[in-house]
């Protein structure tokens, strides 16, 4: 079980351009991370808030709809958020232009 989790995290982390991977639980507390602690805690808190907001936007517009994926592109990198009922997966990627 534990090794499966680690293996999947490693697969994502070793993908091209990925800078960091964070798994956050439903309350916004980071469970697993490949980044340092301060950055992880920051990302966890801010992204889970944003993801909740985005999800409520989608559901308000159409109650039968739901958020599957959230991508934020900034000057320096791209943040990909995959939300779920209990966990949120955050992947930070450096897009090679």
């Amino acid at each position: 079980m534990a090794s499966e989790v680690e293996e999947t995290m490693k697969r994502i982390q070793s993908h091209k351009g990925v800078v960091g991977t964070i798994v956050v639980n439903a309350e916004g507390i980071p469970i697993k991370s490949t980044l340092d602690n301060t950055t992880t805690v920051q990302y966890a808190a801010l992204i889970s808030q944003l993801s909740d907001k985005a999800r409520s936007v989608v559901r308000d517009l159409d109650p039968t709809n739901d958020l599957t994926f959230l991508r934020i592109r900034s000057k320096k990198h791209e943040i990909m958020v995959a939300p779920d009922k209990e966990f949120i997966l955050i992947v930070i990627q450096n897009p090679t232009e």
Binding site: M1, A2, E4, V5, T8, M9, R11, I12, H15, K16, G17, V18, V23, N25, I29, P30, I31, S33, N37, T40, V41, T68, F69, R71, R73, K75, K76, E78, M80, A82, D84, E86, F87, L89, V91, Q93, P95, T96
Partner: protein, 469 residues
């Protein structure tokens, strides 16, 4: 009746005698005393001492606790595994899509030309109280971006500097901010060659002077702001200070981040200064210098007459932004050395009491002219750029000795560089004309992306620094 009573009385009483009864007396027997002595054998005394020959102290101390992710978050491993398994292919698919995405093809994030053309906010012109041949030598912002300090120096220095000079401070946030009168003025005994505000304390300012002194002021103090000076603490420089910088102490613990002042001068020394206690004073810490013997054989003949043990005059230096034990030093005739505070070698011929060591571990390909400025990039930590008097700007990687890129600046001498703190890959440089040039490293362009011209053409741009805001 009376006659009968009397007869009875006379018959009744008779005398009787008894024999005495005696008891033998048992009086105490006279006690007898006899002396009896006993004595132990004489005690033998011996004095013996025991002492441990070798004493060893052992102390342990835990590091200041680095806060870790709370280990007690309850989660179900199984469900986490399921979630990740479910989502992994989708995520990888999305990650791949970024590579092939054409959504942003035409989008050129206009980093250089923002929506607004950079406007000139203020033109500071404090002309009172300055001698005619004075010019603005250096300027620095305080770390919050509220105070701008300008340092002045004289243009002509024939032999030794005996000018008195001053530093003007302008606080742009105060209501009484005026472009002609400084909010505060600090007097110095010599011309100011470099200034730097502290990294996190906005009231601490450091300056290096042409006579080799390093001064630190604490602007919060009312009467005499001078916190400390290298003259009073000893062990200072013997020649003009060319650059000063604040860095976080490379040998400090992970948790605390104390700042120390580093100064370099033309006498070849790079000295760390520690600020002692709140009441003031500078304490000299480690010193570094690069001996003449490090220059490659070919370059030795180029106009420097030094003995092999003398230190090469330093023109500028820069520390790596995330790891302040690595730094780069540029010396007089264009040499550039890779240095570290950890791997140092002793310098021969130097008095062992003087804390001076040789930090260099390799050199980079040197410039053809004098290196004017070196700066490490704030976000790409291994990169630094250097500019020299022959007009070349070179981008180096700290690990490699040959430059990654060379940009030839058309207008000749490049006097200084400054990275943009917000946009990665953008830096500005200035030379002897009245223009500031912006270069963008990310698209491979070798010509300046933007030029900022000063309105009055005959002013030379001596310094330009990005405000921390």
């Amino acid at each position: 009746m009376l006659f009968l009573e009397n007869c009875l009385q006379t018959v009744m009483f008779q005398d009787e005698t008894h024999e005495p009864v005696s008891v033998e007396s048992s009086i105490q027997v006279v006690s007898s005393l006899s002396d009896n002595e006993s004595q132990t054998k004489a005690c033998k005394y011996e004095t013996r001492e025991a002492q441990a020959g070798a004493v060893s102290h052992a102390e342990t101390q835990t590091d200041s606790p680095v806060p870790r992710i709370q280990p007690h978050v309850q989660y179900d491993e199984g469900r986490l595994a399921d979630f990740l398994k479910r989502i992994c292919p989708k995520v990888l698919g999305e990650l791949d899509k970024v590579q092939k995405s054409r959504a942003f093809d035409r989008y050129y994030s206009s980093r250089v030309e923002e929506d607004k053309i950079p406007r000139k906010l203020h033109s500071l012109n404090p002309s009172s109280g300055l001698p005619i041949e004075c010019r603005l030598n250096c300027l620095t912002w305080s770390c919050t971006g509220a105070v701008l300090a300008l340092g002045y120096g004289s243009v002509n220095h024939e032999s030794w500097c005996d000018h008195r000079s001053k530093i003007n401070l302008f606080n742009i946030n105060r209501p009484n901010f005026s472009t002609t009168t400084p909010n505060q003025t600090l007097e110095t005994k010599s011309c100011v060659s470099c200034l730097r505000g502290h990294v996190n304390e906005s009231s601490t300012l450091a300056a290096g002077l042409v006579n080799g002194e390093v001064l630190v002021w604490n602007l919060q103090w009312e009467d005499d702001c001078l916190f400390g000076s290298s003259e009073t603490s000893g062990g200072g420089h013997e020649d003009a200070v060319v650059q000063i910088y604040w860095i976080t102490d490379p040998s400090s613990d992970l948790g605390s981040s104390k700042s120390i002042l580093v100064s370099a001068s033309r006498d070849g020394q790079l000295i760390f200064w520690h600020l002692t206690s709140k009441t003031g004073g500078l304490r000299r810490g480690q010193g570094f210098g690069i001996p003449y013997s490090h220059l490659p054989q070919l370059e030795k003949g180029r106009g420097l007459n030094l003995s092999p043990d003398e230190l090469l005059p330093i023109t500028c230096f820069s520390f790596m932004t995330n790891n302040s034990s690595n730094f780069v030093v540029a010396v007089e005739n264009g040499g550039l050395f890779r240095c570290s505070t950890i791997t140092t070698k002793p310098i021969s011929g130097i008095d062992p009491e003087v804390n001076l060591s040789d930090p260099s571990s390799g050199s980079f390909q040197s410039h053809n002219g004098q290196i004017r400025d070196v700066q490490f990039s704030p976000d790409q930590h291994q990169m630094f750029i250097s500019c020299s008097s022959d007009g070349e700007i070179r981008l180096y990687n700290y690990e490699q000795s040959s430059p990654l890129r060379t940009i030839l600046h058309d207008e000749g001498i490049v006097n200084g560089l400054s990275w943009s703190p917000s946009n990665s890959g953008i830096f500005l440089c200035w030379g002897i004309d009245a223009t500031v040039y912006f270069y963008d490293l990310n698209p491979t362009s070798l010509s300046p992306a933007f030029c900022l011209k000063n309105s009055t053409e005959n002013l030379k741009v001596n310094f330009a620094l990005h405000s921390p805001q």
